[in-house]
Symmetry: C2
Subunit: 171 residues, 2 copies
């Protein structure tokens, strides 16, 4: 499960990774209305808890957010990300973190990709009929980045296949 | 229950408020070790969840934190506060927020009080044998601030007593 945290909109994307085979499961956005901050954090926490209950992911990957030019916005974004990660750890999920640079490198091949390129590559990699909106696309891209990581760590050679540098190779 | 959020140390303080009578219940600090950020947020979330389980507070009051000179510190503090508030709302607690100014005005009488003055007044108001350390003192002060608020809203006149501006007065 990938997460792109934000106070107004927190993107999420769930994929199934079997070795190098990635399959789309679900994606969407947890939106918060204008309300007192604790209520907005509650919406993020409860929304992500519901997604976890529904799709039962095994691990979560969260995009590392950066400081904003506006310190007050940075503080708000931090609180949104804190509530999102709390929802993940409350359900016992291990949480990995990736910078936007790492995520873009994984899905587009270089770290300076535009939003549209990320959306397009997520569409191709997950064989979707259309490119997802930016927040779910970023969340799915983060999940894809982690799947690459997991593949290197946990993939096991099947009969007749060999591993090279953590990846399955033909014999 | 009052909360003074921080990434390294989150102070908490639990008081019992019966009208104008405030009684100390518990206070302490949830500390996080140097570790990956999700693990530290997990410590804050689980630590406060344990405090709530133990003392069953009815409402929480959280100090509003301010932006730091260092944007990265602001982002970290925001995430700590987000995880703390998530722990409160996850247990169904209503959450009130007060600025340090409001808290100091409530316990010391003016908003520019020093840390030591807050500690001393918390000691006096709760009839403690000694002044608590700063983090629990700030959390207790935040709880006291909210008790004043609650008193104005929910206090009811006993037989022979009258209410004036939400406060009990002698007949």
């Amino acid at each position: 499960m990938g997460i792109d945290p934000g106070l107004r909109a927190t993107g999420f994307g769930v994929i199934d990774a079997q070795g190098a085979t990635l399959t789309y499961v679900a994606s969407g956005v947890v939106r918060t209305a204008d309300a007192a901050l604790p209520d907005r954090l509650r919406s993020i926490f409860e929304g992500l808890t519901e997604v976890i209950d529904t799709y039962q992911p095994e691990v979560a990957a969260v995009e590392i957010v950066f400081v904003n030019v506006n310190p007050q916005s940075t503080l708000l974004l931090g609180q949104a990300r804190g509530a999102a990660i709390a929802a993940l750890v409350a359900q016992g999920l291990p949480v990995a973190e990736y910078t936007a640079l790492q995520v873009k490198q994984a899905v587009v091949g270089h770290g300076h990709a535009l939003k549209e390129q990320v959306q397009e590559m997520v569409k191709r990699l997950l064989k979707l009929p259309a490119a997802p909106p930016t927040d779910p696309a970023d969340a799915l891209a983060c999940a894809i980045r982690h799947a690459h990581e997991g593949q290197q760590v946990t993939a096991r050679p099947l009969a007749g296949l060999k591993m090279r540098r953590g990846r399955l190779v033909s014999p």
